[in-house]
Amino acid sequence: MSVNTHDAEGRARARALPRASRTPRRRTAGLLFLAPLLVVNVLVIAGPALSSVAYSFTDWDGINTPGFVGWDNYAALWGDEAFLNALRHNLVWTLFFLTVPMGMGLLGAYLLSRIRRGRTLFRVIFFVPYVMATVVSAAVWRQVLSPTAGLIPALDAFGVPWVGGLNPLGDPDLALGAIAMINNWQWWGFLVMLFLTAMQSVNPSLYEAARLDGAGRWREFWHVTLPGIRPTLVFLFLMTIIWSFLVFDYVYILTQGGPAGSTDMLSTLLYRTAFSEGRAGHASAVGVVMALISALTIAGYLVLRRRLRWDV
């Protein structure tokens, strides 16, 4: 595996470094350069993160002196229907974004990699939604999906069946799917770009060899393209899981977790619990659970990487 080669090369390079580079003076200079970043990291990331963990064991209301309550906030989460409801929605969201946008991104990138003329135009078209501000695209989609003034009544007027009375953002059964589709509209073009870049780095001789062996398009994709872009694929799977548990913007702008909690996510629940209900300690526990899910995802990935010796 190339990972071993890289590691071996890295170790060889490290051994080859001049002894002077490892002297205490050099180390001090290095630490001095690192110090501002470390300070910023401690102040901006580690400090608040640790204080969130500490607050999750308190009854803090966000303003007054907190009192220690032990594991009460965590114990309360497992019986909290609002928390379980939000967690379910995050899991559905994760499943959706691991499949639909990934599939669309792979397909789009593969098709783009097969063409020469118009490729740049398509890249721009696919990428434009990604650079739009979330607030803008959410406002546009809210209008488009309006049951009174948007695309739906227009289609209904044209006699399109099934759309009459449809209210994607106002129907508890449709709202989560509607927001996921809107988010996907912005997201999948970005995946196309990433996958396309990865596909272009696959050695063309592998495709030639596959064709000589009689492989069709599907086998070429399955046995050459996918293994060739595995680092990108694995990285995006990992990040999709993490991002799916942090999703907030579209949900907050479009429904704020409604109607009737049908689009509530852990992040919107956390925000409401902390800022509307004044239960910052409980909200911190929700935040810690979200962080733990991300940590477990990364840990799982690291284990897989070590066991399967993935080159990522």
Partner: protein, 450 residues
């Protein structure tokens, strides 16, 4: 290849970094005279901000030995920004609260100063309406000064009402008759919806609870003498559910979650919505909705809420504090901060000028007809003359309910609309939360019904 950075260059880099950091930290400060007190303001329009700056900030700085500097924030962020600043010990001298619930929390945490001496010095207790003075107190000590108040009323379009031969309803029978007629004519009888702002439901719920349960029973509930599970509350919620299912509120459950407040105001102007129960904060913008849709801005009007129960007197005014201000316990100059608070509430002409020019709600003070400046919209003036004269005063949820109960009031209400829970279950959820918060002292003390 390695590169050894000369020591002189390292000093240069370090010096540059220090200078940059100093510059950045200087940019991060609020600037201005460090001896002046700090106030955070938020405004609906740049014109309102300009008016406030000229008539409240600049006039204070030029007419008193003190100095105040205003930092403008986004209206939607002011409360959460203040919370964060207060909890981190970096609050401005004047602390904003969107009502007494938050100011109680600040007072209990000793984040704000007791104001009794200043209240005596400036006569705030005598000046403020009794119910507002009472709400400013925590354990019988004054901790905040309410600087704006309003109510909820029933908005209607005079032209549409004349055309249909309607008059503003005062009883449940009249209300239901008008709703049926409007519905049969293709209008949404009562504007409602919560898209973009889920807490909007509490406007309608406040109207419902005051009009159908009534101030007397609500007082009992708010003091813990009666439960939220009381029959009157359950019946009120059942009535609203029934009317929602008929499509009377916002066009029905399927439309409720996509209707916005601007949609409903525009609908009122265009004649698509017959009535709209909302806050008096819409006084300043209702005319714009009428003008923007090509209608006469003079056509909007309001009436007090109808009674939706035989046991409730028609015309109840639910009272709501929009802004309550306190003095930070970390303020270096509390005397200047108190003087500024008095500048905001102590001059009737200045307060009513702000109301007349910008439509901003005034402090809860008794006003005479002669106090209102020429040019005050008579529809606005009528409200602030009628409320002090009325004995039928009620309770707005966001002013009189503790935070967790108030949030549940509108988030759980969504589930009634969708049919996920029954009204009786809804009241049980509210009851358990409220009793817990009442016990912890987080609930404001309601005024006694008059």
């Amino acid at each position: 290849m390695t590169y050894h950075l000369p020591r002189r260059d390292m000093f240069k880099i370090a010096g540059g970094a220090f200078a940059g950091a100093t510059l950045l930290s200087a940019c991060g400060g609020s600037g201005g005279d460090p001896s002046s007190i700090e106030y955070w303001g938020a405004f609906p329009t740049p014109e309102t901000e300009e008016y406030f700056r000229a008539n409240f900030i600049d006039s204070f700085n030029s007419s008193t030995p003190h100095s105040v500097r205003m930092s403008t924030k986004q209206l939607t962020d002011l409360a959460s920004l203040t919370d964060t600043a207060v909890s981190s010990g970096n609050a401005p001298d004047i602390i904003y609260s969107p009502g007494p619930t938050t100011s109680i929390s600040y007072a209990q945490g000793l984040k704000t100063l007791e104001l009794d001496d200043y209240a005596t010095e400036y006569g705030w207790d005598e000046r403020l309406l009794p119910w507002a003075a009472q709400l400013s107190r925590v354990e019988d000590r004054m901790y905040s000064v309410p600087t704006s108040y309003g109510s909820l009323v029933l908005y209607y379009n005079r032209a549409v009402f004349e055309e249909n031969g309607w008059t503003p309803p005062t009883t449940r029978a009249e209300f239901e008759e008008l709703c049926e007629d409007a519905d049969s004519k293709g209008l949404i009888p009562v504007g409602a919806g919560n898209s973009g702002y889920p807490a909007q439901s509490e406007w309608y719920l406040t109207c419902l609870l005051n009009a159908a349960v009534g101030p007397n029973r609500l007082y009992d509930i708010l003091t813990g003498a009666r439960d939220w599970t009381d029959d009157s509350v359950v019946e009120a919620m059942e009535m609203m559910k029934e009317q929602l299912d008929k499509g009377w509120w916002g066009g029905g459950a399927d439309r409720y979650f996509t209707n916005t407040d601007p949609d409903m105001c525009t609908g009122l102007a265009t004649g698509d919505v017959a009535m709209y129960m909302s806050g008096t904060w819409s006084f300043s913008s209702m005319g714009t909705f009428f003008a923007d849709s090509g209608n006469d801005p003079e056509d909007w009007d309001w009436a007090p809420l109808p009674s939706l129960s035989d046991d409730v007197e028609p015309g109840v005014y639910p009272l709501a504090i929009g802004t309550a201000l306190s003095i930070s316990s970390g303020s270096k100059d509390p005397d200047a901060a108190a003087a500024f608070l008095d500048h905001l509430v102590g001059d009737t002409g200045r307060s009513l000028g702000y109301l007349a020019e910008q439509g901003e709600n005034p402090p809860p003070v008794a006003y005479e007809s002669s106090d209102f400046p020429e040019g005050t919209d008579p529809r606005v003036q009528r409200l602030y003359e009628e409320i002090p004269a009325s004995t039928n005063l009620g309770y707005a949820s966001w002013t009189f309910l503790p935070p967790e109960t108030n949030t549940a009031l509108y988030t759980e209400f969504d589930k009634i609309i969708t049919g996920d829970i029954e009204p009786a279950e809804y009241t049980e959820v509210l009851n358990s939360m409220f009793l817990q918060e009442l016990g912890s002292g987080a609930s404001p003390t309601p005024f006694t019904p008059q």
